[in-house]
Symmetry: C2
Subunit: 478 residues, 2 copies
Amino acid sequence: MAQKKMVNDITSMDVDFAQWYTDIVKKAQLADYSGVKGCIVYQPYGYAIWENIQRDMDRRFKEVGVENVYMPMVIPESLLQKEKDHIDGFAPECAAVTQGGGEKLAETLFIRPTSEVLFCEHYQKIIHSYRDLPKLYNQWCSVMRWEKTTRPFLRGMEFLWQEGHTMHETAQEAEDFTLKMLKIYEDVYRDTLAIPPVVGRKTEKEKFAGAEASYTLEPMMHNGVALQGGTTHYFGDGFAKAFGIQFTGRDNALQNPYQTSWGMSTRLIGAVIMVHGDDNGLVLPPRVAPVQVVIVPIAQHKPGVLEKAGGLYEELKGQFRVKLDSSDNSPGWKFAQYEMQGVPLRLEIGPKDIENGQCVLVRRDTGEKQVTALEGLADTIAGLLDTIHGDMLARAQKNMEEKTFVAHSHEEFLDIAANKPGFIKAMWCGDPACEDKLKEETGGVKSRCIPFEEEHLADVCACCGKPAKHMVYWGRQY
Amino acid sequence: MAQKKMVNDITSMDVDFAQWYTDIVKKAQLADYSGVKGCIVYQPYGYAIWENIQRDMDRRFKEVGVENVYMPMVIPESLLQKEKDHIDGFAPECAAVTQGGGEKLAETLFIRPTSEVLFCEHYQKIIHSYRDLPKLYNQWCSVMRWEKTTRPFLRGMEFLWQEGHTMHETAQEAEDFTLKMLKIYEDVYRDTLAIPPVVGRKTEKEKFAGAEASYTLEPMMHNGVALQGGTTHYFGDGFAKAFGIQFTGRDNALQNPYQTSWGMSTRLIGAVIMVHGDDNGLVLPPRVAPVQVVIVPIAQHKPGVLEKAGGLYEELKGQFRVKLDSSDNSPGWKFAQYEMQGVPLRLEIGPKDIENGQCVLVRRDTGEKQVTALEGLADTIAGLLDTIHGDMLARAQKNMEEKTFVAHSHEEFLDIAANKPGFIKAMWCGDPACEDKLKEETGGVKSRCIPFEEEHLADVCACCGKPAKHMVYWGRQY
């Protein structure tokens, strides 16, 4: 029967990392391709991971006073053109609606690639006094960007995300909020996804179209490639001026508010796959796993086994996301299936276990088995899930450190870029020309960010030899 | 100061119901107009109501095994054309994307007006055996329909909704599921929104493009106008055949599955406004109100008042959605403000109350005040919120009954249609020509639905006088 096929056909990550990724996305039924190139179908298991990530992020946002709203999905061309850098950055990758209701439109509408201008248009109408500030709005939606090369979760024509857009009374408050959201994003990475990202400021060349400063979170994938996995931006009052947003300040004078924006997307699912996954499939962090514990009855035809398994399900389901698989597939098939789906804990219960008042718990991340007393089982599981989270984070941290290299000279930089996949830490003079040169020489290594705590690795730029201004993380990206 | 303005400028509903509605939407800050005609900005207070409705519906869906997914927002023209009735029904109101990334597209993409065809395309790939059935998928998203006349929440070019699309092994199972979702929708109306809708089957003329049978929920607005406030559809195997969806049955023969779809939208917010609201503003059902209890300190400059109010806030916030307003606006301003926003319960606490170990609770729906002991306050409030829900439902029921009229003859039908806003119950022969005639004669009265329990009001059709087949609810609609 088709359902009984063993899950043994995932390409090894060492053989072909890209194919390994695609195999997992397909076989774990996270996403499927659709008839529109670059648009995917988020299948139930993949979407459930996103819902768990969403719930976690939404709670953190609301704790700091952020409110959810929803803006239109289309932007009139004239509105997008109001801020010059912004339209220059986004116009080339927009999808354009030119007909509606069978008629040609007087003005082209762009499907939102991001919504700064829509928020600004609204803020212009509702912000009048310093008493109206801050405005801390966020929306959960999808956006569309006409990408040439797409890959599920990593780069899509349409993708799901959240975008926060805030307005503040002072530059200081807006700058602080930009960093506050960056910290919340980092907490999501570390505390929820068990992923340690490198965090820092983007260079002038790499910052967001129209922003004064952009900050980024860059986790390291298992193969040494980085992912721009979340950004926060400080805009100063540039957009506010372009959109005529003014308020009466405490001094009774008219002034422009200061703006931020920040976004994370379903790319986080891509990061989870590529940071934690292994050759047997997904390895999901317990806090976002749609199923945290799967119960597999052993010798389930024997009297009492299914009853006991059902009892454990009832006992645990209030506290954990549990699944009981009592289908007639073999235990071996089930083991492989849930390993491939990355379920953090497998609970085996058979006649002998029942006799001894115990069960067997098997960790997905290490494969470790432990015989566990049924008494106090919920506490044991809760503790074990936390341990798994901590161990996954530590392993990801170790992998990132092992794949981070220091280049003291231009020669060393090129050598690492050619031979050692991962981050390169190197000094930089501050000239975008050096970024261009290194990217060209290495076939794609770009500046990732300037970390908040820079090390002093050398006195001169690893590209041009002129005096260094910053230590920069460099790397290839998805 | 602008913030101190009293909220006293809502048009009376008897003077101008449409203006009353618009005033509430604007002044309660539920939604604002955007620069794109027909697209609104869902503001925080309006969106929070939607989030509460969503959470309630999503829980009910998951309880019956529905899984969430996400499909692309655009549909290739060739895909939309696969089912003839469907394309005929929707093509005239589609928005068309003809350019992407600066280039003309080889094939036009329509922004989804609904997603039947996208689900079918995916189901065609993943359904192979009866073991793969049923598939019970739902998505939360926005859709776009090129509407000429739009009104916030009621009819928008873009609106937020959920759309469920399911596939079943047998016709019976699919028909049953269509009615099961209809019942869940009715539960949402009655148990969550405190609204009693009329429920029944759409006539052939009014059913969904491509469906075999459509069912509808039609709540009655305060002014006697109905709202098509949710539909479920049974498709038979028509789409499955058009899309080549086949599975191997238990008898080992290839067959087509049977399909349903069902959707409710932010139109529910419009229903809440128009069923429950009054001349002082919104009246929100407790189970979806973003703020269920607002605490207003009285004489808050006096020692101990703010402390006590803060203590009550801490005590209640774990169990209810509570807000404490300790701003320097006057109590009178606050009373009017939260009345306008429809907060179900106001809790007043002043120096004398504190002395007596009591507070004052004021119901938004009736204006009723009651002095309440602080001891056991949470229980009192929980009970009172349930009472408010029940009373709101009963009042809505009474209003609907008072605005439901029986027409035994053609003359009576036209008289009621001209003079008494509301539902008309009347017999019908089953001929669409009579629907057309009645609509034309009355300037817009259409068949709403055939209820599941039909009364026998007369032997003949209230239009043509031929033998009657059904009792039908008729009415004007938003």
